[in-house]
């Protein structure tokens, strides 16, 4: 069954993330199993979205396997992705080992479906989540002094507030010189800024829209944008305050550059994707091996929120049907328990599994404490807490998200640059959100001729 497409070559276009790097380094396993060659193209997220959109829009289907970012690719283009349920139930093709129930439920919904439970567009592939990463050694060293000066125990935990995070960051700026700055952020005018800002927006009780399920299944009709509400404004004001004491490079950093700064000792703590743990613990790339602590992000006046950035892999509906079926083999392989375990162990990266069963394995459980050969698992306590439904941060899965994403990170960037007040930024963002969504809803409701 596995060798029926031997000799085919497939193209996998993906974001340049750790799990894909691990898979790319271990494709031999797949080749032996199926006889299929896979070319992996890794791109920056912005470039990836464009490439996929161009490929889908052109009807080429040159990339059969697609890293289907739920917000920027799956929501707007789900119609162009193949329905995986058909492959799964096809007797001539392998089905998902342990069935879809083995995937962590919130992740299956968010990464794999749109609007309803009918179709499955992607299999959960990775699950990076934003958590609080900090220099454990510095907190150990200065902890007592900080406690005295600040009036609370600064040990990072989800019960500390963002306001306290701010004060800790500031304390580092003023009271030591082992690292130039206390906190660093991925505040580049790019998707990363939206991610960083959203954590605080949600923690303060604000949101982009008030709509049930908008983060997990997504919706075609989210209602009006709610960025102009008082709680959103409060969040924006706090974010501006926080960035004013952060490392000045933050405004040009995406998540990669932020991690680079953290592991080369430019900042004491960062909110960043947990998958960076692997490279942070790699002595070839990092000077802070063994000195890192992990915690879920601080809480705001209303809740804890940790941005989830997971993705699924999907199949391009424009590719010839044979290639789609061959691509299905890859999907099953890439999300299988064995491959995910391999990814955990990989030297070159790898993420944490999206399958619940893997976390129960004894060798995996053992690796959650140092010393460990599976560094990403050191974050398990933090991320498993972050994945709980009340703590997970899910952004809107709506078809106009690309434009809305651009709008929010542009406006917040202007706010940080001092060109707009927080209130102006939020109001302008809301305006663009509503316009973009209105256009998409209009388009969907008009009868169109296909040329």
């Amino acid at each position: 069954m596995w060798k029926q497409f031997s000799g085919t070559t497939l193209n996998f276009v993906s974001e340049n993330t750790a799990p894909t790097t691990a898979i790319a380094a271990n494709l031999n396993g797949f080749k032996e199993l199926t006889g299929i060659d896979v070319n992996v193209l890794q791109l920056e997220l912005g470039a990836l979205v464009q490439k996929v959109a161009l490929d889908i829009g052109s009807g080429e289907g040159a990339y059969q396997i697609v890293y289907a970012d739920p917000y920027q690719i799956m929501a707007p283009y789900h119609e162009a992705l193949a329905d995986l349920g058909e492959f799964d139930s096809d007797d001539d093709l392998p089905s998902i080992p342990k069935g879809t129930d083995d995937f962590i439920p919130t992740q299956l919904a968010a990464a794999g479906r749109f609007e309803n439970e009918k179709n499955l567009y992607a299999l959960p592939y990775d699950c990076p989540t934003m958590i609080w990463m900090y220099r454990k050694d510095l907190f150990d060293k200065y902890g007592d002094q900080m406690s005295q000066d600040l009036g609370f125990d600064p040990q990072p935990s989800p019960s500390l507030t963002w306001e306290q995070y701010y004060r800790i960051g500031n304390w580092f700026n003023e009271n030591q010189d082992e690292v130039p700055y206390g906190t660093g952020h991925q505040a580049r005018q790019y998707d990363s800024l939206m991610c960083d800002f959203s954590n605080i927006l949600w923690a303060y009780g604000g949101d982009y829209f008030h709509s049930e399920e908008i983060g997990s299944l997504g919706t075609a009709n989210p209602g009006p944008c709610t960025l102009d509400e008082p709680r959103a404004l409060e969040a924006a004001e706090f974010y501006k305050k926080l960035l004013s004491i952060a490392h000045p490079g933050s405004v040009s950093w995406d998540w990669n550059a932020t991690d680079e700064a953290f592991r080369t000792e430019q900042v004491a703590m960062v909110p960043n994707w947990h998958e960076f743990a692997a490279v942070d613990q790699d002595p070839a790339e990092s000077t802070i091996v063994g000195k890192i602590g992990y915690s879920p992000l601080p809480k705001g006046p209303v809740r804890n929120a940790n941005m989830w950035g997971g993705t699924g892999v999907g199949i391009n509906g424009a590719s010839p049907i044979n290639e789609q079926k061959a691509a299905w083999l890859f999907l099953v392989w890439a999300t299988s328990p064995d491959t995910m375990l391999m990814g955990l162990k990989s030297d070159v990266g790898g993420g944490t599994p999206t399958r619940g069963s893997l976390y129960e394995l004894p060798e995996v459980k053992k690796a959650m404490e140092p010393p460990t050969n599976l560094p990403n698992l050191l974050t398990y306590d933090a991320v498993s807490e972050a994945w709980r439904p009340e703590n997970i941060g899910l952004r809107p899965k709506i078809q106009s998200w690309n434009e809305c994403d651009t709008a929010i990170y542009t406006e917040v960037s202007k706010m940080l640059a001092g060109q707009k007040t927080p209130e102006q930024a939020m109001k302008t963002a809301k305006k663009y959100f509503d316009e973009a969504q209105a256009r998409v809803e209009n388009l969907a409701s008009r009868p169109t001729r296909v040329a």
């Binding site: 193209n11 276009v13 340049n16 993330t17 750790a18 790097t21 070319n39 193209l41 890794q42 791109l43 920056e44 470039a47 161009l54 490929d55 829009g57 052109s58 009807g59 080429e60 040159a62 990339y63 990669n256 550059a257 991690d259 680079e260 080369t264 490279v279 790339e285 990266g349």
Partner: protein
Amino acid sequence: MTTSTTGRNTGKQVILYAILILVLLWTLVPIVWMVLASFKPGVAQLSSTPVFVFKPTMQHYVALFTGGNLGAYFLNSVLAAGFSTVIAVALGCLAGYGLARSHFRGKQHVAFWIISTRMAPIAAIVLPLFILFRYVNLLDTIPGLIVAYLTFNLPFAIWIMNAFFMDLPPSLEEAAMVDGATRFQAFYRVALPLVTPGIVTTAILCLVFSWNDYAFAATFAGPDSQTLPIAAAQLNTQTGLNWGQLSAIGTIVVLPMMIVGLAVRRYLVKGLTLGAVTGE
């Protein structure tokens, strides 16, 4: 240039050379830095104070050619730029000659139209070309890139060859025809050899512009047809921008064009100003 040996002139020369050093520093430091960086080991790249003394290594070049698929990108660049240039120059000679030697009403307008196509902003024409290519299945192919590059190479070639042909007095060709040559033979045997500098210049300029293209390749190329500039821009990895490999690719992309560009320096002015100014 007369030079006198009075004190004032020597003083002036000193000042001139002093300013010149500044200009050369401004111009050359980035290039030298990039080439140096391409040989610097990874650790030396990442230090926050610039490192000038280091042990040179070929690791980045090796990594590019083995792991990075660079050979394929290099080949794609050569094919797309090369063929587009050859076609543009060939057709440009024909049309340039035709334009130079013919007289008809509306010739001004035709000439204007030709040059205005060369001036179209890339961002604007990428869009309709994308749709066009989609329908004729030219996306993600080398021929597609060749055609895309023709959109600016062809008018450019026509205009420059036109300028070079205009410089030739028709009397030479007329003499040849009096001796029994056909019009085309007069073109082929007499006029064409005389504009060889123009042909070479046009070819090299077309080559440079195609080789250096990023916007077209980013939009039209797919997994089978990526070119070198795209490879350079895609070097953003999980661990940040790989400066070592980036400088190596940069050096590979830049060096050939510098060499060929300088080779035709004498004719560059005429070529780049579309014949409006004659070179030194």
